[in-house]
Symmetry: C3
Subunit: 677 residues, 3 copies
């Protein structure tokens, strides 16, 4: 059931059930979609009340009719299951499907994304509606894929979930409560459990200081969500529908461990809504570029951009219009990072309720003479022009570890900086450094296969899990380059501190030991100053903030040192030879410019070559490969013209032939892979 | 039952029940009140526990005695019903009277203003005590009026209210749930109702995204409160008491639609507590001046200033003392805008509990040699001097639309600027512009009769309800001037978006269409720059913030254009001829100085004449008319002397004969109405 | 049962129950403790689950073994009762022991410090475990003292507590509900109670505006906690254990009135965790120095520093490392102010859960070659060197009133500055002024015996209780010096305002009356300017903020006057002769520099001599006396060298003989008491 496409999918969410008394609008929408080069719609998201108006009474005729007519007009459908919001009758009759919050209050009916994932009734009802949908559409040629539910998230603390959580724990700790007590260090504050039955999920009214409990609860929520997805997919397959399956994920969402859900789906997809305000357009684009690289790496193949906005959203603090050019450049940036689609929420703007002011391809005015419609159409036209790239894959030499369990553990723990550790920022800064070196990068969890990379970057690898320290050791020993930072190797998978020195298992690889770590207030800063004649040729000093690790060197050498405070002159950046490779240790939370300079210096030193030589600042360069061709995308989100030197033999696919990239635009060139060094 | 007075009422809340063991204090209070020129007290607010100490046991003798003795001393009484706070026994015996909050938790006994408005028991008990009070005082010559309850507000979500809400909806939507589903756009997120019985009021634990539900809930709360008031008043009338009835309203309170409650009362009154800190005294005064004009326009006749503070309040973040002169100037400002009373909370300061540090005429020290007592006495003396003005009416040529349903809808909706739309600020800025033109103004809801105004100003008229677009169209067609702004004509009364272009129904009147609207962060701004030789003679540029509308012109002409961003040079201020009139459209959230300059430029262009020519900045000029005389009030809240040119034939009633107005003081002159141009 | 020690206690919390499977760690810990000069551990804190694993099954053998082995190695034990956190089985079987919060929701099991203090079951279970512990250790020579529970705090609103609260009130008001109604001024807002049964504790869902109710609730919580302590101690004594008893208190904790709990304990102790960030080290040290002086004065004898941190904590917003020298200087500062111990939390760092990153003497690394271990050992060594000082007492000439009931009443009341009155800051500024004069000071409640002081300083003595005004009057009359401030003498013990003028009972002593008080926004300030030739020789002006009292003078003289606003030139600092003494009145919230200058000017004028003459700024000087010797401690927390003139005949005990005090260090000299003037 691999997802395959020979062109880029271009379309988005469409909710004709909101206009079912308006045949004229359906007709007009199809006319406008075709004009906009749209070749896909996502149907059925939140349509349960329309599909099953009362228990067991199904009505899919309206949906069938629309899938048919759209297909006749050249528009394929990604069909959603409706479990993201249940009909009223379901909650009325089976209150167990309503969530209970952490304070143990049950929800009233309302909103969306708020069912109990454990409820057997809810799973059964979802199975039934999914089965009906799949029966109806299993052989329909217009169905491109299944989109299960919508933006999974949240948690339920009802008695059914409590019991499932206890069962999960009992299984994990092999029925041995002493194992759990040791792992969670419950001797502290007299919290020793004598039975699994005593366990309750974390609650502001109950237990909130056992971080092992918290971690397992988060893992349980992911596991339970995964089983829910599995049930949804099984219903579809059981009915004989074999189209590929996806779920749509969310930016920087840490409620679930997406890496654990990947096995349930055939293709990854996500919803990208950058904040085009409050920072530069380049920063807005790069933050989501990193997430593209994370989503793509989940399955190591092209993904879908399931949702994006053709202009302002309505749920951010300010609904900033997308300035001219952004719609197209952002769409192409997704493609550059591996997307095989550009999709919008939504095709036609709803008239009422929560999302009535969310940007849409066709707005309340309803005609095509709008700036937004023109920009969307132009994007679709460009995707047609480059359709040969669809399906091409990304091959990265660099891995950047971004691990959500690590984040859960680090951010929940008390200390060393409760006002903010800056984990996600640290990953982002490292990402920008790698991009400044002109390299493709896979953003992955620590469980990912790491053996094929030349460089592995591990910001704040607080938790070491599943032997990752052994993988990193082998990587360096075998000749790989490793970059680690402060606040790494501190705890095991249960958030239990390693004894005997940190970073655990890597002190010899790094040639040092962390003795203590200082925390800075928001107003404080230190400096990282180069030692003379350092091997990286660093000559500038950089600011350090938040956290400063004080290390004791064994075999490591100092490249930079602190500039201030009582630990001035102690090491701030170190390197160490280990086996055939080299390990770097960044001791403090350096500012972005440090990463922008130092990571390229490291890749240059170790001859890890970027896609474009002499890359101007602020450009994002990516590649996709297909057969013997490499397609290189260079995105310019600045307001200025930029120029790159095209490699010899390169052929421009999109943009100016002289390598000049206009403001807010994209250049694509292709080159033969065999020409690589 | 019209409210009539031949002198200004001067007094305020008095709570002798707090001192019922102190005959000496009652005597001393009367001595001090007389010395302070006080001619009225408000009695009985929150006195239920004293009036009915146990169920059915009434004791009004203490109250009768006080009303009598005060009357003998020349002090009239406004008598309050006690429903603002119930006695303990009532909640103990009938828990249904206690409110349930939106999260569905029932209150414990405590505080005030927290009964269920729907509870039949509470209505019955209120009827009984009101009836008893009215029987006792129906013929008493000292009773000037009835003050029903106190500062109505808040809401209850108990089962009784839920059922009443469902009944209200069923009636409104004629028992047709499909009508409701369409109006609330419930196809979105699968929220379709199949029965009115499924409806629950909005809740943080349930439904919070259906804005139609939210709007109807707010309307229901107003309706339920209105019926509660009706019941209170009916008890009074049923007992044969025929004195006029009022309720005291609150500044910028958006929990109720006051315009809908006006029909239940004979005279409007409100409680004015300006914030004399954090901004200039002029701004503090003008913000409440606008509310005076709102309260007066509710019934188009003089109102009562039911409460104000003779010095610092105790519930604001800082209890700023009123600087010398403010007490008198603020009292006269209320009179200038149409008040027939100046009343304080409170005459004698309570000794304990929540309001013990609220400013009072007689404080804990208890004697007359205080600054506050002197300033109050002086204010009373001045009111005596100008008593001929009491009862005079205001005749405004300008209407400013301030509509609370519009506010509910706009501020609850998601987008286009969730961090703040600035509706109230926009109304305030328009108000200041009108005042800078030296004009009286009625501040009214969109349901108000609009046919007699020369100029109608409509800031952010997001919702168009009850055909207001037709009224505005007729106004302009017939020769009137209209000023509209960005974010207007977007939704109907159900918060359902108008299709086909906005401002709905007024695109031809304005000669333009709004294509899209940009939202700015708090740090951003744009500019509004005059086009050369514009018809208003504008030469300055002004800052624009928050929202910038991008319009497409039809017949309109550009007076100003944007100065920055990608939409520089697009229109920022437009004018359009329509019928015999003219319509202006302000595209962006301009700063106050824009309004201070542009509204006077518009009124001057169209010869809508102010009350004083060449009015110096920062003065507030108002008029009241009686018989053939116009009384013009000029309030100076600045720290500097100001001078106006008195019209020919004007006679100074208060202040300097040369037109000089001292810092923090008021000048009043009279002129013959027949001398008008 | 007086607490006596011939050397300084040096050690801290030790939790071997977290490592009970690691004999090697116990051995290693003892080796390291001895190396660090540790002579004490605190055992058993939160060890209930280990001591009584199931109901009635006690296991103290592990504890006995550890107490024994430690004692054999020269390490004494302070033994804790375990009531700070109960085992799971206790809450499972007896849910009444779980707290109910103010919104009337019962806790789930979890956290710590959250039992119902009223529950007879909990008291009984605590009695039993305490009794067992005491039986086991009553004759053990290694038990130095009992540490009851841990950091008492919090409150419970369960039905048992409600009933106990009603009983408490009925007793306090002699069964007379009218007395309560008058005291709480319930005639206001119809809150009159007709029975004690109607009373509920304050609640965000119920009553929150009766400040008398709030005050009595706070008093009840202290009383109930006291009775709980009494029960704990009685169990110990009943079992025949006669070692002294303590509870560990907390910095600036206002949940309990510690002054009322002192009678239940034999020696005071507390946990000191200064914030060594966000302000200067001197300020961090002085803020806790004040609390040392408060804790010591509770029993007028040496106290124990029960907990402190050898490096960064993990629960503050930033976990700042203690810079070199701070550990020792902070420990010696506690000793300077009267501590007979320096103890740490914790000896060995726990591996998991909430406090795993809290600083410890032995950290996860586990060896002695760390900076922290070296600094701790050095501190222990110094304490050995000065052990002759242990047990010496402090004799202060100055009392500073810091009264928690005063704080409760003032901060809960509405007005005059709800955004912050700054009571604690005002006390702190006065404290710094006294320290700048080089004087020892007792920080005491207004109930403290005040007859032996030369100077009494009373910042913001809002509440006058138990005749304190008579004590202050007698003090001045007899020749004492009194310093009072704005916002004093306002209410009685029920928070009922005094009538007839304020400061109540002291207007003649101060020679003035407060007429009104102005409140300033955070952005505003006024000035206090010296009048020429004032008796204190003040020549500088100082800023005033927050509150400015406007006084009317009777016999007082003006020393300073306001510099701005409409009350410029009115008095800002006054003095008055009364009897043989003198009273000063500070009218406004002056900045710290005012106190640093003016209090020394006052003590100098009245010849109240400091411990060191010509004391350099920012040094903290204290004394302790034993037999005929006075030990004077001078603490320097600045980063600079300071020098004092050693008195003639002084002998340096610690530090440089020339009076030079190194940065972040302490000088101690001794002198003969008989040499005093």
């Amino acid at each position: 059931m691999d997802f395959k496409t020979r062109h880029f999918i271009f379309g988005g969410d469409y909710n004709p059930e909101q206009w079912d008394d308006r045949e004229d609008i359906l007709e007009e929408d199809i006319r406008l979609m075709k004009k906009a080069n749209i070749n896909e719609v996502t149907l059925g998201v939140f349509a349960w009340a329309k599909e099953e108006p009362s228990e067991g009474q199904y009505d899919l005729s309206w949906l069938r009719k629309r899938v048919d007519i759209l297909y006749e007009n050249g528009i394929e459908t990604i069909l959603s299951t409706p479990s993201g919001a249940r009909p009223h009758w379901l909650a009325d009759k089976y209150p167990e499907v309503l969530r209970v919050d952490e304070s143990r209050h049950k929800d009233l009916f309302g909103e969306r994304h708020n069912h109990c994932y454990t409820s057997p009734v809810y799973r059964e009802k979802v199975w039934q509606i999914n089965h009906k949908l799949a029966e109806e559409f299993r052989h329909h040629p217009g169905i491109k894929a299944w989109h299960i539910s919508n933006e999974y998230g949240g948690e339920c603390h009802c008695p059914l979930c409590q019991q499932a959580f206890r069962n999960y724990l009992s299984e994990k700790f092999e029925g041995n409560i002493e194992k759990l007590n040791h792992a969670w260090w419950t001797a502290f504050w007299s919290k020793t459990y004598t039975s699994f039955d005593q366990i309750e999920s974390p609650s502001s009214r109950g237990e909130r200081s056992i971080f092992g409990l918290y971690l397992e609860w988060k893992r349980f929520v992911t596991k339970q969500t995964g089983e829910f997805i599995k049930n949804e997919k099984a219903a579809i397959r059981d009915a004989g529908a074999m189209q590929p399956v996806t779920i749509n994920m969310m930016y920087e969402f840490d409620g679930l461990n997406y890496a654990k859900l990947t096995k349930y789906i055939d293709v990854a997809s996500w919803d990208s809504y950058p904040e085009w305000f409050g920072h530069s357009d380049t920063d807005a684009a790069l933050s989501h570029a990193m997430y593209h690289d994370f989503i793509r790496a989940l399955k190591n193949k092209p993904f879908l951009l399931m949702e994006s906005c053709p202009t302002a959203t309505n749920w951010q603090p300010v609904s900033k219009l997308k300035k001219p050019g952004i719609v197209k450049a952002a769409g192409l940036s997704a493609v550059a990072h591996g997307a095989d689609s550009v999709q919008y929420f939504q095709i036609r703007q709803g008239r009422g309720s929560f999302e009535k002011f969310h940007g849409a391809v066709i707005d309340h005015y309803g005609k095509e003479d709008t700036r937004v419609f023109r920009e969307v159409s132009d994007t679709g036209s460009t995707l047609k022009d480059i359709s040969k790239i669809a399906g091409a894959k990304t091959h990265a030499k660099v891995a950047l570890i971004h691990d959500v369990e690590n984040r859960w553990a680090m951010e929940k723990s008390a200390g060393p900086r409760n006002c903010g550790l800056g984990y996600y920022d640290a990953v982002m800064k490292a990402y920008k450094g790698i991009k400044a070196a002109g390299l493709d990068v896979d953003v992955v969890s620590m469980d990912h296969e790491l053996s094929d990379y030349k460089l592995i970057v591990c910001p704040m690898l607080y938790m070491l899990r599943n032997g990752v320290e052994e993988k990193l050791r082998a990587h360096v020993k075998g000749g790989g380059i490793l970059i680690m930072t402060y606040w790494s190797g501190i705890v095991d998978e249960n958030d239990l501190c390693y004894l005997g020195g940190t970073p655990f298992g890597l002190m010899d690889v790094l040639g040092l030991r962390s003795e203590e770590i200082d925390s800075l207030t928001d107003e404080e800063e230190n400096e990282m100053c180069p030692v003379s004649d350092n091997a990286l040729g660093i000559t500038k000093s950089y600011k350090a903030r938040k956290l400063c690790d004080l290390v004791v060197l064994d075999t490591a050498k100092t490249l930079m040192e602190y500039g201030k405070d009582w630990y001035a002159k102690r090491p701030a950046l170190c390197e160490n030879d280990f086996g055939k490779g080299k390990a770097y240790y960044i001791c403090a939370d350096a500012d972005e410019d440090f990463y922008l300079d130092v990571i390229p210096a490291i890749t240059k030193r170790h001859r890890i070559k970027g896609l474009v030589s002499n890359l101007p600042k602020e450009l994002d360069v990516c590649s996709r490969e297909k057969d013997d061709t490499r397609y290189v995308f260079v995105s310019n989100f600045t307001g200025e013209e930029k120029k790159i030197s095209l490699p010899k033999g390169a052929k421009v696919v999109l943009g100016n032939n002289d390598g000049v990239i206009d403001p807010i635009s994209t250049l694509i060139f292709e080159e033969s892979i065999s020409s690589d060094s």
